[in-house]
Symmetry: C2
């Protein structure tokens, strides 16, 4: 089994792709599932998201450049959603970078949403689904590599190593792994990211702390077969 | 001053670009200068390199996929060249990844060749030359991110931080920095790279050890103004 990391989204990913947007899309998506949400539709284009919301009973959540978008039912803050009951609901999630990353890995057989908060669960599900390769795909920020996403990939890589058998790690996977194993620790490393600074400036410091709590959630958003943008929850046994 | 790292070569780099191919092109280039070489011409295309060598008195060094190329005067092993006297000579250097990286950053105002062995010297020269931005450009391996080059970028970033004034580090620069500051140390981290494995398999284990010795050389190959492929040595005061 090969474990690879893409520092930025790229086309042509095969087998299992784990999309990672720690601050904040994939952290928020996992949180929404934990609060009972039955389905998530990930859409990159704002107009398409608004149109889709008008045709369905779905809630519409998201942001542009960190801030809630006018007309949306809610933003992209995990803490905002962490205590709300969404049992039986569905939501459309439209964000700046994470949604584009989901579109980029369309060719993968399985697409999962990974974050630090579900690192263990997503690692175990990825190992279960993969035939030969798991690619951890960092969303990045407008085409630039993001420390928060590479750190998230590293946290998931740690759990893949802990749960997997014989693994071949690419150099990119080794780099991500070293980020997660940095003596600074996950909290301080995440706080050093440019994205964390932006979050603090916008008043979302609590989201950064929340996003750094490793493996607190045991749900994974998994793409529904043959539906490129629909994701449903998979619960992973917390062992 | 901004310090950025490109994990793979990219076009559009401005101001100062430091091309890094630790195993082995930029390590070898620095070694050749230390042995008295007065000029290096970096050429990616093998046929063009051979044609150019036929027209000049230059030596022709390089490799394809790690091994010396037939008809070349020598290979791309720094250890092979480390005791030879090249006073007053010039050489054409034609390698798999490093030469292509030099071509990719053609738009930069200044292009330097950086490695672990001249980390301090290249950091200080880059700071001296830069107006607003230093980009450490990792050569990578056939389009994949290479641990050895990101580690090299980290080693140079450490020296930029030690010598520079107010610096803004991009997330990519912070990731590279963490590689150089890994508790494993530079030797062990370099040895973990895929490229180091290949070198050991091909019988070049000594090159890996040589390439990991930080700041042993105080020369930097600097692109000659308005000559995209010609590099001349600049000696940097060892302070």
């Amino acid at each position: 089994m090969e474990l690879d990391v893409a520092f930025l989204p790229r086309a042509g990913v095969t087998d299992v792709a784990v999309v990672i947007d720690v601050l904040r899309m994939t952290t928020t998506a996992t949180t929404l599932l934990q609060r009972g949400m039955e389905e998530l539709v990930i859409v990159a284009d704002t107009r398409a998201a608004i149109a889709l919301a008008g045709e369905t009973e779905s809630l519409l959540f998201g942001e542009r450049h960190g801030l809630p978008y006018p007309g949306f039912h809610g933003g992209n803050s995990p803490v905002e959603h962490a205590a709300v009951d969404y049992a039986g609901r569905s939501a459309i999630l439209c964000t700046t970078n994470g949604s584009k990353a989901v579109e980029a890995v369309n060719s993968a057989t399985h697409v999962l949403l990974g974050s630090i908060v579900n690192a263990k669960a997503v690692a175990r599900l990825a190992l279960e689904l993969a035939d030969e390769r798991i690619t951890l795909v960092c969303a990045g920020t407008d085409g630039d590599v993001s420390l928060d996403d590479v750190l998230g990939a590293g946290c998931i890589a740690v759990e893949v190593l802990a749960n997997g058998g014989e693994l071949y790690l690419t150099d990119a996977a080794k780099i991500a792994l070293k980020m997660a194993l940095s003596p600074d620790g996950v909290f301080a490393t995440l706080a050093q990211s440019e994205h964390a600074s932006t979050m603090r400036e916008l008043g979302f410091a609590a989201d950064v702390d929340y996003a750094a709590r490793a493996s607190t959630l045991n749900l994974v958003a998994k793409r529904v077969a043959r539906e490129p943008s629909r994701f449903a929850p998979v619960a992973v046994d917390p062992l």
